[in-house]
Each structure stands twice: as C-alpha cells, then as structure tokens.
C-alpha cells in the first residue's frame, strides 16, 4: 500500500487518465448525505483522491469510499476518482472497498482539505455472483489497441479468426478462397503477425499464405489487435503487430452458467454450433472450470454466378480449462484441440503457366459443380493442440511472479489434386505434404511492486524449443529451433502522462536437416538481436488524448524463406529460398490522437514502418525450365521497404439513436532500395455504416438495424509486369445487420442477429485473394445467429 499525503490546500488534483477501456456509459453515482452536512456551515473540509488497481495501475470504477461510523460515502467515477465534501475538521477512518478487492482502511486527521489515493489489491478469491470488470492486458499502452468483445464480437461469430478481425481499422485479410483467411495488419502478415492464443505464442506453419491460424474464435471473449511493432513484450517476429485471443477469467466459486451459439450461413449452407459450460465446485473452494466445444460444417461456396467446386469446410474443436485460487496463489490449466478439414477449390490447382493463362482467358473456372458438402482432393487437414499450465503468485508486498509452460502440436496434412499414378501407392491415400511441428514454450514474468506508486514494470524470460518433422514432397526441411528472449519493461504513470520503455534481447539457434541427392545435409544458423520500445500517452482532458510510440522489432528468416525450392501450384510460380538471408529489422513509429464526446468521437492514427532487409519474392528476369514447362521464377531477396499509412475512424450520433460511423485504412508501401512498389499490398478501403438503435420494448433490449458499405480501391501501386493479371478493379459491397436480445427469464437470455453480406450479390475479386486468378469472390451470404445464455 502506497499513500500520498498532501496538504489540503494544494490544488493539484490527481486526475487519472481517461481509461479508454472503460466506456462512458458507466454511471457517475454519488451518495452524498445532505443531512449530515447541512446544519454545519463551518464544515468545509474535503477528501479526494484516486482508487487504482495496485498491479495494473488502472483506475477502479465504482469503488465505495466511506467514512467509518458515518453515513457518508461516494462511489468512484469512471476515472477512479472520488471526492467527499463538506466534512468537519477532525479524525476520521476512511474505508475504500469494492467487491473483488481487499478492503482498505486509512486514518486521517482532517484540518482543511486532504488527498488520499488508494491502491487496492485484487482478491484472488472473488465472491459469488460478482463480475469483475478490471481486465489486465500486457499490451503496450502507447500503441493503438483495438478490442473486439461483447456485442461487437458476437456479430462476427461463426467466422474464422481472420474474418472476425476484418472490421478493425488497419486490418485486412489475405485469403485463399472463402474458407482460409489470414489477418494482415498494416500490410504485414504471416510470420510478421504474432498471435497470442490464451497467452501462448501460436506456433503453426505460419509461413504459408494459405495456412490460416488454427484457432477457434469461440474460445475468446476478447480479441485484441495491437498495431505496430510489439516485439519487446511478445518476442521477435511481431513486426506488423500482435493479435491477442483471450478467454474470460475462470468462474472461481461461481454457480454454473453457460451459453449456446448457433449460426447458419446461406452461402455454403454452413452451420456452426458452439457451446460453453462453466462454473465452480461446491465442495472445493477456490476452484473454477470451463468446457467449450464447436462444430462447423459447410459446403461449396457460391459466387454470384456459379459454385466453386470443393470449397467445403469441416471443423471440430473443443477446449477444457480449470483453475484454482488460494490467497495470492493462482494455478490455471488449459487444453484445446482444433481440428479442421478444408477443401481447396479444385480449379485453382495449376500444372503449368499455360493452364493458368487459359483459366484467366476463360474468365471463369473450367470446373463447374453444383452444391455438395463433400471435401475431396485438393484439401488440407490441420490439427492443433495446446496444453498450457500457468501459475502465479501475488506476494504481499506487491510483487507478482508468473510462470507459464505450454506444449503445442501442429499436424498439417496437405493432399494434392493428383494421386500418385501407381495404384498401390495411390490406394494408401497419403497426403503429399505432412508437417508435424511441436513447440514447447516456457515463460517466467516478474511484475515488480510499484515504485512510489507511479512506476510499474516487468522483467521476463521466454524460451521456445521447436522441432519440425516433414514428410512427402520436399518443401521445407526438418528443423530444430531454440529461442531465448529476455525483456524488461517499465511504465511511469501520472494523471496526465503515461510513459513506457522496454528492452529485449533474443537469441535463436536453428538447425535444419534435408535430403539432397539422397544425402542428409545439416545446416546451422544463429541469430540474435536487441529490440526496444519507447512510448508516451498524454491525456489533455477527459475527452482528448494523444499517444506516440517508437519501437524496433526483428524477425529471423524462416525455413521456407531459406530453403523453398519448387513449384507453388496455387500461384504457378517457381519459388526459391536463399540460405544467406539475414534477419529483417524494423523501425516503427506510430502516433494517434483521439477525441471523444458522448455524441461523437474521432481517432486519427498514422504510422511509418521502415523495414531493413525486408524479405520478399523477387521476380527473376529469366523463367526456370521444368518438366511442366517454363515457370516464372521468384527468388527470396532482401530490400529496404517503407510502410506509411493512416487509420482514421469516427462516429457521430447526428440524430437521437442514429449513428453514422466511418473507418478509413490507407497504406503506401515503397521498395526504397529498388525505387519501386511491392506486390501483395492491401488496397485502401473505406468502411461506412449507419446504425439505428431501437428503443427497449418490454423484454426486448439492445435492438438495432444497421446498413453498411465497404469501398475497396484498386491497388494501382504495383511493380510493372509482375503479375499474370493486373490487380482487380475497385469494388463496393453493401451489408445489412440487425439484432436484439430478449430476456426470457431472470437467468436466461436470448440474443438474435441477422446479417447479410454482399447484399446485392455483386461480382467482384479481391487483390489479396489467391483465387482472384480463377474465380469471382463469394456472392450474397445471409446469416442468422442465435445465442442463448443461461444461469447468468
């Protein structure tokens, strides 16, 4: 407990920053007791201050501050502030309490005015039926953070992780058809975007542009995007940004609750069913558990004019979690299994450049089909398992130690369209490519106790050990990789300023094994690097804030960039790695300002990301000759690239209940070393929506209707003659949404949502969809979403 005692006549009111994650809707409740004050005009003393969480430094909203023995008390406001006025001089005992935290008492001798700040310690054992709103996110506070949770997240239910994030400013997707979507942050993707799944760095075969993250979004109740280089806290590779997939806190000692989600999509006749049950145990105190599962089935996707053959999807996922809390100790165990089978549009499997040119000339696929749920070759089956154990201990003096270990097993099987010609081998139906990646991670993080109540920080060490076993068509080698990272971050928080700085050192050693001319060849690589971050947030007023961050990050070349050597069927291109590639280093500066009133808000952010030794596929002047003909030849090469962009978002309630909102994503990328543009950069986009909030009627609440329009520009900044087909034309898509919730009974609630994407069945192709060469994008897709919550 740290106290700040100040003379009462001092006027510098310690005001806390308007915490962005607390909405303005939280009520300012004051419980003055006028009777105790009115008769004594001489009593003009006051007590005021701020109540904060001791660990996170975040203000606590709605805490009670009262004078023991009197009927005088107030609640803290949205910034954690309180003020007790009209007190008589004298001795008082001040108590601050809120459920979920240990209450705290402080004796004060009041002569005039007094400032008393409380730093409350979170209770590990929460009382029954209490929702704790304080949430801890380790993300750097000076970088833009966008979180999808609650109703916003509900609207994306049933979609893949990549698709769910499409609505976030600055985020786009890299797609292979409609079922495989990878998130792109500020123009960067795959290995340059790190995904933290429940606190664990997701390790799959991320290098592949058609390898979507193997995560069930139903696990999460919050999905956050940290834009810009965040390598210091989360480790190397996070040059573009970080996606945090976070489940709800475990319901320690709470009664059993649950929810059931059912989503149906018209396109692909897809159905998704997901359920969660959670609670505590009556006979064990301090225990909580959760079980969750999802089933998804979908068939062939339809473009406005035809079906895409073999584009079905099947998913079976589940997760189990349990936790125990006792005093300062917390232990969590988590297991999840993600299992998917995805059909790849058969018209996209290309044997030679002639085939590709014929499809392009034809304007639509040669292979036509009707609707079917069957998944045939080519397809990919991926299983991802995560087993995680986390334990933490809050020391009484304010220190906190956290230790997390996890094992991930990623098993990916890819089946080519062509079976082997030899019947006996073909009958085995083996995948042509198998990757088995096992990753073991170990993290120890120490949060030191706040220094002078203003400086908080953490020191940590992370290790990763990983081995990859590969069989089938040679693509990437077997490898063993060990990584160790040490980091230190400090944060200084005052009412107006929030400053942070951090430093990290990483060392990686990589050994690869491959067969060349029937001989085993081993290669050894060592990489190491420092990265740093410094940032500031300034709160000018409750409404107006600005933040700036400068950070560095690095990324070692991955095995596919080092050793690729073969034809990429989806792109009809021959790709060759380079074992002499050096790590990429990024210098990222990002700044944003935000102004928000209850009626309107606007946020403008700009970034400049300079990447030294940016690794990309460079077209070679001469094609390479193979048995299947001559292929365009691409080599992994390095250059210096700059990424400049602006993200703007705003909303305005111009008539009561009617809100218009807009999001603009603008990006310019330049190859600084070769004075040219780079390929596969997302085009600029503008997203507008008009929403009408319905009045609550009886048991119906939170009803709304909204209409949206997405404008995507044509990508004109591409290198000349670098592609078989110029980037697609600009397109405009309309969408319609409606939703409401119905309180069925005290403990049961039903939420209903209707969503129509591509309302007018517009024919379009997207530059970042690999299928743009072969076929149009998805046509109209209407969906109905039901969510039933019980026991809550």
């Amino acid at each position: 407990m740290i106290l700040f005692l100040q003379r009462c006549n001092k006027k510098n009111v310690t005001r806390c920053m308007p915490a962005l994650r607390f909405s303005l809707l939280i009520l300012w409740l004051s419980l003055f007791s006028p009777t105790a004050v009115a008769q004594k005009p001489a009593c003009e003393c006051f007590v005021k201050g701020v109540v904060k969480d001791r660990h996170t430094g975040q203000p606590i909203v709605g805490a009670t501050v009262l004078i023991v023995g009197q009927s005088t008390g107030v609640f803290t406001d949205q910034n954690g502030r309180y003020e007790l006025r009209n007190l008589c001089p004298g001795n008082y005992t001040l108590e601050c309490r809120i459920i979920g935290y240990s209450p705290f008492q402080q004796k004060i001798d009041l002569t005039a005015g007094h400032e008393e700040n409380f730093n409350l310690l979170e209770q590990e054992v929460h009382l029954k039926d209490v929702e704790i709103t304080a949430h801890r996110t380790d993300a750097p506070s000076s970088q833009p953070l966008t979180t999808l949770s609650g109703a916003d997240l509900d609207k994306t239910r049933g979609q893949t992780l990549g698709e769910s994030l499409k609505g976030v400013t600055g985020v786009t997707t890299l797609q292979t058809g409609s079922s495989i979507a990878k998130p792109v942050i500020h123009g960067l993707h795959s290995n340059r975007v790190l995904i933290m799944n429940n606190g664990i760095r997701q390790e799959g075969q991320q290098w592949g542009s058609e390898h979507a993250p193997e995560i069930d979004p139903f696990i999460a109740t919050r999905i956050s995007v940290v834009k810009g280089a965040a390598g210091v806290r989360y480790g190397s590779d996070a040059i573009g940004g970080v996606i945090l997939v976070e489940p709800e806190e475990l319901p320690i000692d709470k009664p059993i609750t649950g929810e059931l989600n059912a989503v149906g999509f018209s396109n692909g006749r897809q159905g998704v069913l997901s359920g969660t049950v959670q609670g505590g145990l009556n006979f064990v105190k301090g225990f909580g558990w959760r079980a969750q599962g999802t089933i998804k089935r979908g068939g062939n996707i339809r473009t406005p004019n035809y079906y895409l053959d073999n584009t079905g999807i099947s998913e079976n996922n589940f997760s189990l979690a349990a936790g125990y809390r006792h005093k300062g100790l917390g232990i969590d165990v988590f297991y999840s299994r993600f299992d998917t089978q995805i059909g790849i549009f058969s018209g996209s499997h290309i044997g030679s450049v002639t085939d590709l040119l014929n499809v392009i000339k034809n304007g639509e696929p040669f292979v036509k089909s009707g609707f079917s749920y069957a998944i045939n070759r080519p397809n990919q089956n991926a299983t991802h398992e995560l087993l995680k154990a986390e334990t933490h201990y809050h020391f009484n003096d304010g220190n906190r130690l956290q230790w997390t270990i996890a094992r991930q097993y990623n098993n990916r099987n890819e089946f080519d369209l062509h079976r082997p010609r030899n019947d006996s081998i073909a009958a085995l139906n083996h995948p042509e490519l198998t990757f088995k990646l096992t990753s073991l991670t170990n993290d120890v993080v120490w949060d030191h106790k706040p220094i002078a109540g203003k400086i908080s920080g953490q020191v940590g060490v992370s290790t990763l050990y990983q081995y990859n076993l590969m069989s089938g068509r040679p693509l990437i080698p077997n490898f063993n990789q060990f990584n160790i990272g040490l980091f230190w971050i400090e944060r200084y928080v005052t009412s107006k300023w929030e400053l942070e700085a951090g430093l990290r050192y990483d060392y990686r050693t990589l050994k690869t094994y491959r067969i060349v001319n029937r001989e085993k060849i081993a290669d050894h690589f060592d990489f190491s690097n420092f990265s740093g971050t410094a940032g500031a947030t300034r709160n000018f007023s409750e409404r107006f804030s600005a933040r700036v961050n400068v950070g560095t990050a690095w990324r070692a070349p991955n095995v596919s960039e080092l050793f690729s050597d073969g034809v990429h069927h989806g792109a009809a291109a021959y790709e060759k790695g380079d074992a002499t590639l050096q790590p990429e280093k990024a210098l990222n500066s990002i700044a944003s300002v935000k102004y928000a009133t209850p009626k309107w808000s606007v946020e403008v952010g700009g970034y400049y990301n300079y990447i030294f030794d940016f690794i990309y596929l460079k077209p070679q002047p001469e094609p390479i000759l193979t048995i299947r003909g001559a292929f365009p030849y691409f080599k992994y090469t390095q250059t210096d690239a700059s990424f400049k962009g602006i993200d703007v978002s705003g909303s305005w309630e111009f008539v009561k209940r009617t809100t218009i909102s807009s999001k603009l994503t603008y990006l310019r990328v330049y190859d600084e070393r070769n004075d040219g543009y780079l390929v596969m950069i997302p085009p600029n986009r503008l997203d507008n929506a008009l929403k009408y909030q319905l009045a609550d009627r009886g048991k119906w609440k939170d009803g709304f209707i909204s209409i949206g329009n997405l404008l995507v520009a044509e990508q004109k900044r591409v290198p000349a003659n670098s592609d078989f087909l110029p980037p697609p034309k600009a397109y405009s898509l309309w969408s319609l949404q409606a939703g409401a919730s119905l309180k069925v009974s005290e403990k049961q609630q039903l939420e209903i949502g209707i969503n129509v994407q591509n309302l007018f069945n517009t024919v379009y192709r997207d530059y970042l969809n690999h299928f743009r060469y072969y076929a149009d994008d998805m046509g109209r897709n209407a969906s109905l979403r039901l969510k039933w919550k019980f026991g809550a």
Binding site: S352, L417, P420, R421, Y465, S471
Partner: protein
C-alpha cells in the same frame, strides 16, 4: 525469506523445464518417395518401313529446380516422311529407375498426350491408341512430317482424373515441353 525460497524454487523449475524439452528432428529425416516425378521424356521416332530409330530426350535427373536439365535434344526429322512415334517417361531420381510410362498406361483413362507442332504444317500427329472409354491416349501414334522447315514441337501430358473427354482442356499439365523441331 520464505518468499525468496518460493521464488528460487519456481525459477529453478522454470530453468529446468527450458532444458529438458529437447528432441532432435535430425534423426527422423524421411526421404521423399511417396510421389513419382518425371525426370526424363524420350521421344522415339521410327521411320515407317524401316527399323531406323531416332530418339530425342529431355532429362533433368534431380527433378524441378536444383541442377539445370542435363539434356534437351533438338528433334531432327526428314521431310515428307511418316514415323511411328512412341514416348517414354522415366523417374530417374529413384533407384531402380521408375517407369512412369507403364503407370500412365495403367491409368490411361486419366491421361492424354498432346503433340502440337508450330508452325502446324511441320508435322501431323495421329493417335494410335485408345483408352477404355475410346478416347485417345498418345503413348503410340504416327507423325507425318511436311516440307522442310524449323519450329517447335510442344509435348504435353494432360492429367485429367475424372474429366477426360478427348480434348486437352480439362486437367493440368504433368509434362509441358517445347522441343526444337528441324525438318530437313
């Protein structure tokens, strides 16, 4: 003091975990033998009425990439002559060498060879074999040369599982080679 002991214990356990997790992937390198490659294409032209055989090959022993093709012959034929044309496909990256011709023959209802001379007057190809659905295959056939001239002969093997209809359009290329063709 008690806290320190707890802290030390946790750190020690964490450090131990970091080093006992190791397994080596180098012991499990699997050679690639599931898929056949085609590394060699040989065209055998037998002049009709004689036993004189001319063979022309394309060879890339290590498959796509790696070393460049070791052999890419120029086809040289007499003008206005009819030849019997047979084609042989091998996978020489295996030991013993895998005869892909035989496997194509076994799955002849999924394969079609396409021979396209350019300019077209240089050579006329006629299929000499049929699969079980009465569609041509092209493992054997006859080639009749025209007047003397230079050009190319495109040799394609179309893989058309479940889609073969006698035209080259369905499926994708297993082989796509442009041989230089000299008729003199």
């Amino acid at each position: 003091m008690k806290m320190n002991r707890k802290l030390n214990w946790m750190l020690l356990a964490a450090m131990t975990m970091a080093f006992v997790q190791c397994k080596d992937s180098g012991d499990d390198v699997e050679p690639d033998d599931e898929n056949e490659l085609i590394t060699s294409v040989t065209l055998k032209f037998t002049e009709q009425g004689t036993s004189s055989v001319s063979t022309f090959s394309y060879k890339d022993a290590d498959g796509d990439g790696g070393n460049a093709p070791t052999k890419f012959d120029t086809i040289s034929l007499k003008p206005n002559t009819t030849y019997t044309l047979a084609i042989e496909l091998l996978d020489e990256s295996k030991s013993p060498v895998d005869d892909i011709t035989k496997e194509v023959e076994e799955e002849s209802d999924e394969h079609l060879f396409v021979y396209t001379p350019s300019p077209a007057a240089l050579l006329t190809y006629t299929y000499g074999d049929k699969d079980k659905n009465n569609y041509p295959i092209g493992l054997t056939g006859s080639a009749k040369t025209g007047a003397a001239g230079n050009g190319t002969l495109k040799v394609q093997l179309r893989h058309q599982p479940g889609a073969k209809n006698g035209t080259p359009t369905p499926g994708s290329d297993d082989v796509n080679l442009d041989f230089q063709l000299k008729v003199k």
